[in-house]
């Protein structure tokens, strides 16, 4: 064995390097945020929120993209939210210890990390090809499939923290399962379920790849869900790769909006959870 001095030196070196790595991670986050602020803030005028996307040089905004994103996220949540909460409840209550339950939990874990672009291809095959066109509905459904695993996982984890005694007490009073779940377990795990929904919104807001083949994007104002629909990530993708300076500037403004929104949702969800425990 090496001398004590050598071992101490090694220990100190590793500690310094590890601390350096942690600092590096924080610096990288700061670097990304500063880049976004530096390039996005100058372009973030009022017209970004009041004008729709326009050809280069005509002072276009991102209004249709922002509204499109909000509509598609809302529909994705309206579809994926209940399914996710119910499936998460199933895993924590009825499916516990059953084969179907563990299989569903396994599948959900895979879906949580599966490439999101494949969900886009799936919806493309399922809806866009048979119904003859890209649509806001297809985009919303693709996002719904992406939010389901997030909500399932958080709901299950949070319900598992609810003491069994609470459920037993409710059942002992003669309450049917729907009452036990809705009035006791869901209520006890409320903060956790809300956290899951916030994280799901954050995920849906930033996803680009699955929308490429489903809602496609739309450069004019449209809230018709049966037609191609604009979204913030797609607009950013389109504009960032363009040769026009004002489009690239708009892309940075959109990137700043999305990132701030997503990070705020993440921090808020952590605060909601921390406060409830």
């Amino acid at each position: 064995m090496a001398s004590l001095a050598a071992r101490r030196a090694k220990d100190t070196t590793v500690k310094v390097v590890s601390t350096g790595f942690a600092v590096l991670a924080i610096l990288l986050l700061a670097w990304i945020l500063l880049t976004l602020v530096a390039k996005g803030l100058p372009a973030l005028g009022l017209s970004v929120f009041t004008n729709v996307t326009m050809p280069p040089g005509q002072n276009g905004g991102l209004l249709n993209a922002i509204v499109g994103s909000l509509i598609q996220i809302a529909i994705a949540l309206a579809i994926g939210g209940p399914i996710g909460i119910f499936a998460g409840t199933f895993l924590a209550e009825n499916g516990k210890g059953t084969k179907i339950g563990s299989a569903a939990r396994f599948v959900n874990d895979i879906l949580l990390s599966a490439p999101s672009i494949l969900v886009g291809l799936f919806i493309y095959q399922l809806l866009v090809v048979p119904f003859g066109g890209f649509s806001g509905w297809a985009g919303s459904l693709a996002l719904a499939i992406l939010v389901i695993p997030v909500i399932v996982r958080t709901t299950e984890d949070m319900l598992n923290l609810v003491p069994v005694g609470l459920r037993e007490a409710a059942f002992a009073l003669g309450a049917p399962q729907w009452k036990v779940v809705m009035m006791v377990t869901w209520r006890a795990a409320r903060a956790g379920i809300v956290t899951g929904i916030l994280l799901a919104i954050a995920r849906a807001a930033g996803e680009t790849a699955p929308l490429l083949f489903t809602s496609l994007g739309n450069n004019s104002w449209s809230v018709n869900l049966s037609k191609p629909m604009a979204s913030l990530p797609i607009a950013i993708y389109q504009y960032a790769g363009s040769p026009f300076d004002d489009w690239v500037a708009l892309a940075w403004a959109g990137a700043l909006l999305i990132t701030v929104g997503v990070l705020v949702l993440n921090v808020v969800s952590r605060l909601v959870l921390a406060r409830s425990h």
Binding site: G20, I26, T35, L118
Partner: protein, 325 residues
């Protein structure tokens, strides 16, 4: 419930046959909805795989299994093969894991052993926020900020220094474009570090304090305890964590599409432009009309990506669960 009590009459007692039906129709409906949602999640994965397989079937019929090891991707001659993309997907993901692994080990060591208690949570959250930044933002940052830096300051000295070395030099050939495999791998590394670190920390915190204290008791340094007690104890789950990072890196689309250069030819060099399965699908899709051989080839690529991701993620989960259960 109220209705049942009312019908029980003045005595206030509920006859047992009525008490049984307290839930009425609502309970079977509710429980049925729970089961249906669980089963829906279960079959969702199967539906996705089936759709991708069926969509890619015409390409499979046209090219057979040769599709897997054909290197050409030529829309003019309608000859498509997946080799370049499979290679690019694996190569960029492996670079990501190789870079992310020491970082994650270090950050996890810092968070579990070094960080003062009040700093632990904020720093941990900051690292986790790196995972929350959307993929497309990494793409823009990589394209506009990192790639120019790589082209100006990182790649030229590496090419000059390591390029002439035999064998190893093959990794450092070509012009310093900025974009390419290496840049894509680095960006992917930043994106997967939070996932790997979080699971490392979770595993390391489950090491029984007694084990660590015994090691400290015989005079081990902090690093020696980490290296010889904590890490070996959590080894299986930590390998699982790395697999999860790999799985995430394999399917990442937008960040890679911006910085990999999108060239459908094979090169051993780290700095050469390439393509991954996901970036190819994102890039080529707009020029692939419904019913074209190109579209079915892209769907076939998607199917291959799903199979690769599924294997890696399933393995990861098996390893992580085997420790936690």
């Amino acid at each position: 419930m109220d209705a049942t009590i009312d019908s029980s009459g003045a005595t206030g007692r509920i006859p047992i046959h009525q008490a049984k039906s307290i839930g009425g129709l609502s309970d079977p409906l509710f429980v049925g909805a729970l089961w249906a949602s669980g089963i829906f999640v279960l079959i969702l994965l199967g539906l996705i795989i089936a759709q991708l397989f069926l969509g890619g079937l015409p390409a499979l019929q046209e090219f057979g299994l040769d599709f897997l090891w054909t290197a050409s991707w030529n829309p003019v001659t309608e000859k498509y093969g997946a080799l370049v993309m499979i290679y690019g997907t694996l190569f960029s993901a492996v670079i990501a894991v190789v870079v992310a692994l020491p970082l994650s080990f270090g950050i996890a060591f810092f968070l579990t052993e070094i960080a003062p208690q009040p700093l632990k949570r904020p720093i941990g959250v900051a690292v986790q926020l790196l995972a929350a930044v959307p993929s497309i933002i990494y793409g823009m940052w990589g394209f506009f900020v990192i790639a120019p830096l790589m082209a100006a300051y990182v790649q030229p000295p590496l090419i000059d220094l390591l390029g002439p070395i035999p064998v190893l030099g093959a990794l450092f050939q070509g012009p310093p474009l900025g974009s390419g495999m290496f840049t894509a791998g680095l960006i992917l590394a930043v994106m997967i570090v939070p996932f790997i670190t979080a699971m490392f920390v979770e595993t390391l915190e489950s090491v029984p304090p007694m084990l660590k204290e015994s090691a400290y008791g015989v005079g081990c340094t902090t690093f020696e305890v980490y290296r010889n007690v904590s890490v070996p104890y959590g080894r299986t789950a930590m390998v699982g964590a790395v697999m999860l990072g790999l799985g995430r890196a394999l399917g990442e689309t937008m960040a890679v599409t911006f910085v990999i250069g999108n060239a459908t030819r094979l090169s051993a060099s780290l700095f050469a432009p390439g393509a991954t399965i996901a970036s190819t699908i994102a890039n080529e899709f707009p020029e692939a009309p419904i019913g074209s051989l190109k579209l079915t080839s892209l769907l076939q690529l998607g199917f291959i990506l799903f199979v690769i991701s599924f294997i890696v993620l399933a393995l990861s989960r098996a390893l992580v669960r085997s420790r936690l259960d």
